[in-house]
């Protein structure tokens, strides 16, 4: 009997393993290509790949990977041998990927491609990908309005001013994004970082470029988003936009294009960042030679022809003649552009530059002050990690703690009664073992790993042990004054304010609605209840995105409704994310919408257990509605509400989605909370995982302290 069971178990394991391996076997002979193309570009790639496969007898599998997760998927799959043979990507992460060993060099193709393409893909004297297409910003204009596009920035300013009147604009572009500011930055003679990777944001050229951008922005709607830019053009309300060829298909109107103008004060062309898309042969692929062959085909004349005709790409192959004027302009623009830096250090300059841009466009700070702050910001972010610490003292403390733990355990086990009971209950321990194991694997191990990571610094792929240095830096506000939004103290205050105001609103609204739903004159109670619980049932990131667009300065419903309510006759133009108070209010509104249903449901349940008699008794005792609530209902709701409030505070304290998606920390990171700051440290400020983990440990300690305190205040254990 036992043997049969074992056999069955073995068979089951075999099936599971086979299922896991099946995908690998099934496609062992194929070439796998990853890409993030959509629409015409995807069709062109498919056609080119098919043409290649026909000729060679290879089977090629195209895998479309979502753009948002493309890089992280590559970075996790390739080192584990699950990655593609070939992938198509822009050169932006070349430096990082090369360092991570994800790439195989591409060999020599000079002469076949236009220079900027080769330049952008060469690092350390080697070419790392087969170039495919150029992408950069250019000037797109409405040929029905403009005959001759401006050749200098002076002409651009003048034309823009002449065409801007009642709801129409001469020029619109995403002025608040560093990528769109880059042409001016370069044209005025600046750069985000120098050859050594040091930020260069406070130079004269940078200030001039920013001053010029502010002049342009004064003629535009405030902080237009990409969608807003497209729709203004489509509606015929913008004569010129600055955007890439990828936007042309969405515009739905006739377009003409021109290279960006010369910067009048310097006489230099405005040079946008150039992205070169390339086919990269992945390390650890099944068949690197076939992959390299496919890459050459896609990149070469035949592949390029298909991509130009079907996918309307500005191809890098020098022997292919552009088939329409817009592609020609894109090629001309590529010749006067800056390759997007592949140095990961450039990330440290982005955040400060973005903040400076938005401050100046909003008119709250002067360009020189803003750029000085941006430089300071970037310098701190670039600062090397703390010096390595001696791990021995930590090891000794850890060992002593472990010994003390073992000692305590051994001491307790000396009790014969306990030993006997443990033996008697041995089967019971087995019963809870699976749950215990799950707890260890899912909770204890990640927690300890996180805590351990906080003792290490991660810098450009290298880890070093730094002990408690991160905690000291964070708590002593070593890099920023305590009043700066970047400091832990500031963010902690904002987080506490955020939590307190949210939970207060959740409870007030939740309890009020629950009380209202109990009133005898309220009809269709079930319908109301379901409707009011709905905000809770919708995934919170969807709600957050909806509220984000409702708070949009130009097309958001909130401004429109406020305009109606205040009888202005038109939508208000409040830029909700331009000040701390309004940005915080927008976050608060969103999270209140998400949070009140929980408190309402808890209250509805708790109200069921309060006998109606009690309120009637209070009514006969002469208590008014408020007194009845205050003295009778509320105290009786507390036992149910208090745990809910503690739980709600912890959720709100760590409510990443709302902050990240609604205000995204705007303005200037002041509305960030601790958890979203931790995220930024880990993922958008040079992958400082150790620093981020230290934030996480501090968050844990704050919440631990809070829940102990709440228990103490409640006078008993509620959680």
């Amino acid at each position: 009997m036992k043997a049969r069971r074992a056999l069955q178990a073995l068979l089951l394991c075999g099936v599971v393993v086979a299922c896991l391996l099946a995908p690998t076997w099934a496609h062992a002979a194929d070439l796998t290509v990853w890409h993030a193309y959509r629409g015409a570009e995807e069709a062109a790639l498919r056609e080119a790949v098919d043409r290649f496969a026909e000729g060679r007898g290879h089977r090629v599998r195209l895998v479309s990977v979502s753009f948002g997760v493309y890089d992280s998927k590559l970075e996790t799959a390739i080192p584990r041998g699950n990655g593609p043979d070939l992938f198509i990507a822009a050169q932006g992460n070349l430096g990082k990927w090369r360092r991570m060993g994800l790439l195989v060099p591409a060999g020599d193709v000079s002469g076949e491609h236009r220079d900027p393409a080769i330049e952008a893909l060469t690092e350390g004297g080697e070419l790392w990908g087969q170039p495919l297409a150029f992408k950069s910003l250019m000037l797109i204009y409405d040929p029905e309005v403009i005959d001759t596009p401006p050749r200098t920035t002076d002409e651009l300013l003048a034309l823009s001013a002449a065409l801007t009147e009642d709801g129409r604009y001469g020029l619109v572009y995403e002025a608040g994004t560093p990528f769109y500011h880059a042409p001016w930055m370069h044209g005025f003679g600046g750069a985000a970082i120098d050859e050594m990777g040091e930020p260069t944001l406070d130079t004269r050229a940078q200030v001039d470029a920013l001053t010029f951008a502010a002049e342009l922005a004064a003629l535009m709607p405030t902080a237009p988003s990409a969608d807003r830019v497209s729709s203004l053009y489509t509606e015929g309300r913008a004569a010129m936009i600055i955007d890439g060829p990828w936007r042309v298909a969405d515009l739905g109107r006739r377009v003409a294009a021109a290279p960006l103008p010369l910067v009048s004060p310097t006489g230099e062309p405005a040079r946008p960042y150039l992205t070169v898309e390339a086919a990269f042969v992945a390390a650890r692929g099944q068949d690197p030679e076939a992959a390299a062959e496919l890459a050459s085909f896609l990149s070469g004349v035949d592949g390029a022809q298909i991509r130009q005709e079907v996918g309307r790409q500005a191809v890098t192959a020098s022997r292919v003649v552009p088939s329409d004027p817009i592609l020609q302009v894109q090629l001309d623009q590529a010749a006067r552009s800056e390759p997007l830096p592949t140095d990961p250090e450039v990330q440290s300059a982005w955040e400060g530059l973005a903040r400076a841009l938005r401050q100046v466009l909003r008119g709250t700070v002067l360009p020189d002050r803003a750029m000085a702050a941006a430089q300071q910001h970037a310098t701190v972010l670039r600062r090397p990690p703390p010096p390595p610490a001696n791990p021995w003292p930590y090891g000794i403390v850890l060992a002593l703690l472990a010994l003390a733990g073992l000692g305590a355990l051994g001491y307790r086990l000396r009790d014969p009664d306990l030993r006997r009971r443990m033996l008697v209950h041995a089967p019971d321990y087995l019963w809870i073992a699976p749950a215990g194991l799950a707890m260890v694997v899912l909770v204890v191990v990640p927690f300890l790993t996180g805590a351990a990571v906080a003792l290490f610094a991660h810098h450009q792929g290298e880890w070093s042990f730094v002990g408690l240095a991160h905690f000291i830096d964070i708590l002593l506000a070593r890099d920023w004054p305590i009043t700066s939004p970047m400091s832990f103290g500031f963010t902690l205050v904002v987080t506490v304010l955020w939590t307190v105001s949210n939970v207060t609103l959740h409870v007030v609204i939740g309890v009020a609605l629950a009380m209202l739903l109990r009133e005898p004159w309220v009809g269709l109670r079930g319908v109301w209840r379901a409707l009011l619980i709905l905000p809770w049932a919708v995934p919170n990131y969807i709600t957050a995105l909806i509220w984000r667009s409702l708070f949009d300065a130009q097309v958001g419903a909130i401004n429109a409704i406020l305009g109606l309510l205040l009888l202005r006759g038109e939508a208000l133009q409040i830029d909700w994310f331009s000040s701390f108070a309004t940005g915080f209010a927008a976050n608060l509104t969103t999270n209140t919408w998400l949070g009140f249903p929980f408190m309402m449901v808890v209250t509805l349940g708790a109200l069921q257990s309060i006998p109606r008699d009690l309120e009637e008794a209070a009514e006969v005792d002469g208590a008014g509605a408020w007194q009845r609530f205050r003295h009778v209902t509320w105290p009786m709701l507390m036992p149910a509400l208090l745990p809910a409030m503690i739980l709600g505070s912890v959720w709100t304290f760590n409510m990443f989605n709302v902050i990240y998606l609604v205000s995204a920390g705007e303005p200037d990171g002041s509305t960030e909370i601790l958890i979203s700051e931790a995220y930024r440290w880990a993922f958008s400020r040079g992958n400082r995982y150790g620093y981020a983990a230290a934030y996480a440990v501090l968050i844990f300690l704050v919440l631990l302290f809070y829940s102990r305190l709440a228990n103490r205040l409640a006078g008993r254990k509620v959680l």
């Binding site: 008699d613 209070a618 009514e619 006969v620 208590a623 003295h631 009786m636």
Partner: protein, 345 residues
């Protein structure tokens, strides 16, 4: 303190009628007990007086003032609920003083009032406990105390004793009587327990299906029930009803031998109370089915003929045996109209 007048009081929930034109005049300081079977509307009537239910039609006056549209707090009435409805999170002291607290009376005054009443009800040692730490009888006294502290014009008691065990109930009944004598406040007391009604009431109001059947002193109700409903409802064990026909000064119970000398002609219903039947002589004969001994007296369950049952109460010790046939003499006979059930003159 005040009298209460109900004039043509109606209460309806949609198409369901609960109270159908109640007229009642209550003197200041009277102890009124409302009795009736479950669902007769007695609790609803009490809640209408308290202001917890809206009055559909008719008028309610307290102390000569029309209070139909006043909130409970403006009526100056105090209520004791069947569940006592003590606030579980407040001490006995705060429970009792709550009405004064919400009326924003000075702290010292509240303290004094609560302690006076607590002394009256032996609650002083319990003042700082929570209701959850009290026994049923103690909670009942706290509920009473909470009502008394306010010095209301009218007390409303909604089955205040029904959650107590028998001996405690008896004790509290006496205490209630005592309190009323001391306070001399008008009381409306709802119960389904007729013993409570008979012992406590100055006047009893018998309600049935939202209609007042009879209002009167306990004696009047017992001695001269206005109809068969009141006759059977008041008195325990209840009155037996037997159909009969009268002719020429005698009445014969349908299907039985033996005549009773009673006035009245034609069909009627006779009501016979167990206490009014003498066993051992008389015109009626019945066979003893069961003997229930109650200590001082015994109840004989008698079979007079097909469908004709009767209970007689006799003093103990009782010599009769089950199965024995005995003669019976009704000393008092209540006569009711055969169809309407109204008392015949």
């Amino acid at each position: 303190m005040a009298g209460v007048t109900l004039n043509g009081l109606y209460k309806r929930y949609g198409s369901t009628s609960v109270l159908e034109g109640i007229d009642l005049d209550v003197e200041d300081g009277e102890y009124i007990v409302l009795v009736g079977p479950s669902g007769c509307g007695k609790s609803t009537l009490l809640r209408c007086i308290a202001g917890l239910e809206e009055i559909t039609a008719g008028t309610l006056e307290i102390g000569g003032r029309r209070v139909n549209d006043l909130s409970p707090r403006a009526r100056n009435v105090a209520m004791v609920f069947q569940s006592y409805a003590l606030y579980p999170h407040m001490t006995v002291r705060r429970n009792m003083g709550f009405a004064l607290e919400v009326a924003r009376r000075p702290k010292a005054e509240i303290r004094e009032a609560v302690e006076d009443v607590a002394a009256m009800l032996d609650l002083v040692p319990l003042l700082d406990r929570l209701p959850g730490q009290l026994s049923g009888g103690q909670r009942q006294r706290v509920a009473m105390g909470r009502a008394i502290v306010r010095r209301p014009d009218v007390f409303l008691f909604d089955e205040p004793l029904s959650n107590l065990d028998a001996s405690l109930r008896h004790h509290m009944r006496v205490e209630l009587k005592h309190l009323h004598r001391r306070l001399q406040t008008t009381v409306f007391h709802v119960t389904h327990d007729q013993v409570e009604a008979l012992t406590l009431a100055d006047r009893i109001v018998v309600l049935h299906q939202g209609v007042v059947q009879q209002v009167g002193t306990p004696r009047e109700l017992f001695d001269r029930p206005a109809n068969t409903f009141v006759g059977t409802f008041i008195g325990s064990p209840s009155m037996a009803l037997l159909p009969a026909v009268g002719a020429g000064g005698t009445v014969r119970i349908d299907g039985l031998e033996g005549e009773l000398e009673l006035p009245g002609e034609g069909a009627m219903t006779l009501g016979l109370r167990p206490t009014d039947i003498e066993v051992g002589r008389g015109p009626l004969r019945g066979q003893i089915e069961v003997i229930e001994s109650l200590g001082a007296e015994a109840l004989l369950h008698l079979d007079l003929g097909p469908d004709r049952k009767l209970v007689a109460q006799v003093p103990e010790p009782c010599q009769a045996q089950p199965g024995e046939v005995v003669s019976l003499l009704p000393r008092v006979v209540h006569r009711f109209h055969a169809e309407t059930g109204e008392r015949l003159p």
